[in-house]
């Protein structure tokens, strides 16, 4: 389904714009002091304002503004020095005040862009699409209604009411479902690296609506668009839009016209369907929020936020590859999560050798150990300096590569430091050539048949000899020394 031509053929072109809602990772809500923690007991994180109690007033969470500005700057937007809030009025049981405080006429950020890799290469070495960011504004989330199966009732939980969101509205610059998905993934990487959101689509921290239309290839004018609502996974971004494009083309092919409407992607059917239409078309009656004066974001604050902007994955990949000579794929893995990239960079700072060695260690050993022990990099409790210490022990041949992995595991599970583990577990490597030589001599003396075999041309026996010597050393002999001594003696 990734193949664009399957869906569009040569005759049609799709035009896609996304409205992405991203939950900001603040401790308290956008306008109240209630907690935003995910997964709490229903209605246990509700301030008087969040339930729309009479007489309550909103006060802006400054941190949320800061986070939104971070996102705006990362998306190369213009940030307004004076931003205004507005009320969007509609009735819904999960909207206690009867209006959502959002932004309408003077959004915090405007006129940005995001460069998205579009040829399937996530590292961005191939073709890219420049997607315009029309606006990025702050608004509050609504609560959650759950429909009770088999009953004519729904239950309403207001914990999510007032959680800060940014809405990022793209220009209709995307052309394929794959591009839309790549755009979402790029946005996700940005908000996660900016440390303003956990970017979890599965928890609803990142959601998107897609405006989709098709037109005959070469046409300038847009076709009639539909809005695909509540897309909640990267897969559905692609599949839902693809299904909608297919539907619209079928309509046009049949000589029918596309109706402007709101639709939902039915995952099971693999098709989109119209949302059961509300009583009438929406008339949100936006007007300036009288409870909130103009919010001032002064230039100094913006510059301070800009100066402290964390580096984004694309930029960091470039640095790893160009300045540190790290391999392309390793650079890709290391920039998959901010915690990983931060750990790598901090480790390199502790390391005097080449960065690729540290990269190898993280990608090949450290990630496996973390995975085996079931920890995230932050939970593991091993500092980059301690980690590099283990790498040094191996590189200095104090312990073997395998022992290195054991040490890392033990550090996580027992919290002991590397030296203690090496001593306690007897992991120190035998590097005294004389001692190893006497073991080698013993093994050769005890196995004349195999010696003859080797000398008869079967080089494979070497591995068996190495194993015997390692066993005799209790695993502590440096395998490199063992190998070179064996070779020397057998070949002589």
């Amino acid at each position: 389904m990734d193949d664009l031509s399957d869906i569009l053929g040569d005759e049609y072109e799709a035009v896609i714009g996304l409205e992405v809602h991203c939950q900001l990772d603040t401790a308290s809500k956008l306008f109240s002091g209630a907690s935003t923690k995910y997964g709490a007991e229903p209605n246990s994180q509700v301030a008087p304002l969040d339930m729309g109690l009479p007489g309550t007033l909103p006060v802006v969470n400054r941190k949320a503004v800061e986070y939104a500005v971070r996102a705006g700057l990362a998306l190369r937007c213009d940030v307004r020095n004076e931003t205004k809030f507005a009320r969007k009025n509609y009735f819904y049981p999960d909207l206690p005040k009867g209006y959502q405080i959002s932004q309408h006429r003077a959004p915090l950020c405007e006129n940005g862009e995001l460069v998205v890799p579009i040829d399937g290469d996530p590292l961005g070495d191939g073709d890219v699409r420049r997607v315009g960011i029309q606006r990025l504004h702050l608004e509050e989330d609504a609560g959650k209604s759950t429909h009770l199966k088999g009953q004519p009732h729904s239950l309403v939980d207001l914990n999510r009411c007032g959680v800060p969101l940014i809405e990022i509205v793209s220009e209709p610059d995307l052309r394929t479902p794959a591009e839309a998905r790549a755009y979402m993934k790029a946005l996700r990487d940005i908000v996660v690296f900016l440390d303003i959101s956990d970017g979890e689509m599965s928890e609803g921290s990142l959601r998107c609506d897609a405006n989709v239309s098709v037109r005959p290839s070469g046409d300038e004018a847009f076709g009639t668009r539909t809005e695909l609502k509540n897309i909640n996974s990267f897969k559905f971004v692609h599949d839902g839009i693809a299904a909608e494009i297919r539907r619209q083309i079928e309509l046009l092919e049949a000589g029918e016209s596309v109706e402007q409407e709101t639709r939902l992607y039915d995952v099971d059917a693999g098709r989109t369907r119209p949302m059961r239409s509300k009583e009438e078309s929406h008339d949100y009656r936006y007007f300036p929020e009288p409870d909130l004066p103009v919010f001032t974001v002064d230039k100094e604050w913006i510059e301070e936020i800009r100066a402290n902007l964390p580096a984004l994955p694309a930029e960091r990949r470039r640095m790893y590859r160009e300045a540190w000579n790290v391999g392309r794929d390793d650079a890709g893995v290391l920039t998959g999560e901010p915690a990983l990239a931060n750990f790598f960079e901090a480790s390199v700072a502790h390391w005097s050798g080449d960065a690729q060695t540290v990269a190898n260690w993280i990608v090949n050993q450290w990630l496996r150990v973390l995975n085996d022990t079931g920890h995230t990099i932050d939970e593991a409790g091993v500092e980059p300096g301690e980690f590099v210490g283990v790498v040094e022990l191996v590189e200095d041949r104090v312990i073997s590569q395998n022992a290195g992995q054991t040490v890392l595991e033990e550090m996580i599970t027992t919290g002991r430091d590397a030296e203690t583990i090496v001593d306690d577990e007897g992991l120190r490597q035998m590097t005294d050539a004389g001692a190893i030589e006497s073991l080698v001599d013993d093994v050769l003396d005890d196995n004349p048949e195999q010696v003859a075999e080797y000398r008869g041309g079967n080089n494979n026996v070497l591995g068996w000899f190495i194993g015997q010597v390692m066993q005799a050393s209790g695993g502590s002999a440096d395998p490199k020394i063992v190998r070179s001594l064996l070779q020397e003696k057998l070949d002589s």
Binding site: L53, N89, D291
Partner: protein, 481 residues
Amino acid sequence: MSRDILKELRAGEISSLEVIDAIIEAAQDDVFNAFVSLVDPSELREQARGADRAREAGEARPLEGWPVAIKDNICTRNLTTTAGSKILEDFESPYEATAVQRLRDAGAIVVGKTNLDEFGMGSSSETSHIGPVRNPADPDRVAGGSSGGSAAALAAELALGALGSDTGGSVRQPASHCGVVGLKPTYGRVSRNGLIAYASSLDQIGPMASTVEGCARLFDAIAGHDDRDATSLAVEPAGPGCADVLSEGVDGMTVGLPEEYLGEASRLDPQVRSRVEAAIEALEEAGAETTSVSLPHTEYAVATYYLIATAEASSNLARYDGVRFGRRAEDADDLAELYKKSRAEGFGDEVKRRIILGTYVLSAGYYEAYYEKAQKVRTLIRRDFESAFEEVDALVAPVAPTPAWTLGEKRDDPLEMYLEDIFTTSANLAGIPAMSVPSGTTDQGLPVGTQLLGPALSEPVLFRLAQKIFEQCNDEASGRG
């Protein structure tokens, strides 16, 4: 009780307990329907004893033992807060309004919640779910509104101070009709936290009292920045509180007389005019200069006010939907019905009328023509005041075109009722402070107030002027009761 009761309280000539007992007795059969709810008498006596102990110990706070009444659209923790509406008839707020908390912190004793027009939408206090307030000066007449219960409670000596709220004149007009002092502060001077919103950009909680000094002391207690209200002003005017400048007089002040309020075209009732003129004379005698000024956009104020107020109200009242609190219609099959029926049953006619008008002026296709147009005219009205205040320290005007009218008289014509606010809405639109000071009575004994308006944060000036008018025009009333 005399009007000097506050002084007597402070001097220890009368105890808080005696005052409270008098109020408990008088409030028993609340003949003017001033209260929606009252605090339990034993609770009140307990607090009064506490106040007397504090005074004896020399630890009296500024309002120690003052019985105050709170308009029932201001949230209090220990009593229901109904806003005069059926939709909130059993509503208990889990939190308390900042202004109420500040009164308590200053030692005041909340005696009860006062009657009002439903959600503050009216000029007569006739529309609440418990029926109309009656004017203590003449029980067949309205008390004015929407803070009619607070004004009547003061006039009937059921409280020594009160809070009202003023969106288009709702503190000043009932104060005028009942013969008490009422201030609409500068927008942002008193926190709106806990005030049930009618029109957020116009609403202010205002102090009311039987004397200018009492009003000033209440204002000093409730004014000031509040972190819970983003529109609350951070600037604190320098110098002493309003109660401490009353004796400074008005010598050398220049007071403007707006042609549009006092000229022929203003259709002012002759008796009202004569009381306002008496007030102007009193100021002149006290040493103030008077000069004529013009506020050319005055005639557009009521239209501007109704567009903005109803638009904001339509949004502010969307939360009363029968889902989380308040009244829910019983037999709604689906969600749309639940909303429509709960709201139809819970709101009175005037509230519905304003919600419909406000929804209309915000709806697609009308926003620019009505709402935004009104916001622009609001700018012109604001500028009128700005230029006037380049010439003068304050303005003198009537509060209402007529004295209190008969109950039921204007109920059928909304527009006629709206025009009652012709002299008061401008101050809300411009955000400036304005107050009503008793200026004597008509031949039939109906109270008439004079309005004082000043630039933002000029409350101390208004109180000084008010004090002079109060002293000069109310000699005969000072020993009343």
